[in-house]
Amino acid sequence: MAGTGEELYRQSKKGDQQAFAELYERYAPALYRYALHLSESPAVAEEITHELFLQLIGPYSGFDEQRGTLEAYLYGAVRNLVRVARRNRIFAQSENQAADDDILGDLIRDQRAAALYAAIRELPPQYRDAVLLCELEEKSYEEAARILGCPIGTVRSRLHRARLLLAARMKAAVVSSPAEQR
């Protein structure tokens, strides 16, 4: 079954299970990764992805085609749910666990890549979002602009600024530990 995300959403609202399964396959992995990057916790990312699709099933999902694309809505919802999770107990419970098993951080074998990943997490939120979407999720500037709800030029400038900041931080890291060379 092919179709835009919005078409799949409409069909799934009518009870089409196949459409909903395709919607899940199309968006859930990327949304999970996005939630993982933002929350730094696989447990929270799993919970948020689950919660997000539960909202989509429900009668009051909040998605309105007149206001934007489904993709923009989903990524925006993930950002909001991460914020909510930070405030709620669920995050406090799993934060210790996340610190113990930072699975993605551990799996990045290249130390420089691991250091860069840590530096991305420390970026201001708007720069971090641009990096996560354009660099780690390989979204085009147009897609990122739709998701972030800002002009394409803003995405470009945020990404440019983010890369400058990251480069500076990586250099600072090399200076602080001279044994490591690029």
Binding site: R33, L36, E46, T49, R163
Partner: protein, 190 residues
């Protein structure tokens, strides 16, 4: 420069010459290439991350359940509507039969048609239509049959009782009159 570093497009000779001449641009170029390579490394590691299969199964099960539930309220509505309709029919028929018993225009019209005080309207009988012909049938009836028609008779009696039954065009009895045995004999000799 960023786009060249990101996409890996071939840079021109002029660009390369500038990089060799300009240390600042060369440093920037190396930074961009470094970042692009490291982003790719992170991306490749993260690509294997996805929600658990258990989570997927659970959400699909909840989807199926939530859409099954959608039929329950509609079924309830159908059942409610049917109950209201049934209640309306029952109440309507009760009201109609009561109104006939309690001297409604239809029962009064029936008594006018009869013109005889001895006739008693059969309860729950449908009213006569305007201009409907009636027939009086004289017959021997079991006391229990007369009792069902509302007549005050001795149901323990084994003897049949003579009665005039007023029948509508549809064949249904509308009123009944018990004949005095002596009067019946008197009439039969005429």
């Amino acid at each position: 420069m960023l786009e060249y570093a990101k996409t890996g497009l071939e840079t021109g000779e002029e660009f390369q010459q500038h990089l060799r001449a300009c240390a600042r641009c060369n440093e920037r170029w190396e930074d961009e290439r470094f970042l692009t390579a490291q982003f790719r490394s992170i991306r490749e590691t993260a690509a294997g991350f996805r929600p658990s299969d258990g989570g997927r199964v659970e959400i699909m099960r909840k989807f199926a359940r939530s859409h099954r539930r959608m039929f329950v309220p509609s079924f309830k509505w159908v059942m409610s509507a049917a109950a209201v309709l049934l209640l309306t029919i029952v109440l309507g028929s009760l009201w109609r039969s009561r109104s006939v018993d309690q001297g409604s225009p239809e029962s009064e019209a029936l008594l006018n048609v009869l013109g005889e005080d001895e006739f008693v309207a059969v309860p729950y009988a449908p009213p006569l239509a305007a201009g409907e012909f009636v027939t009086v049938v004289r017959m021997e009836l079991r006391p229990t049959a007369l009792a069902r028609m509302g007549m005050d008779v001795d149901v323990t009696s084994a003897n049949d009782i003579s009665a005039d039954v007023l029948v509508g065009q549809d064949g249904a009895p509308r009123a009944v009159r018990v004949l005095d045995e002596a009067q019946f004999k008197e009439r039969s000799t005429l």
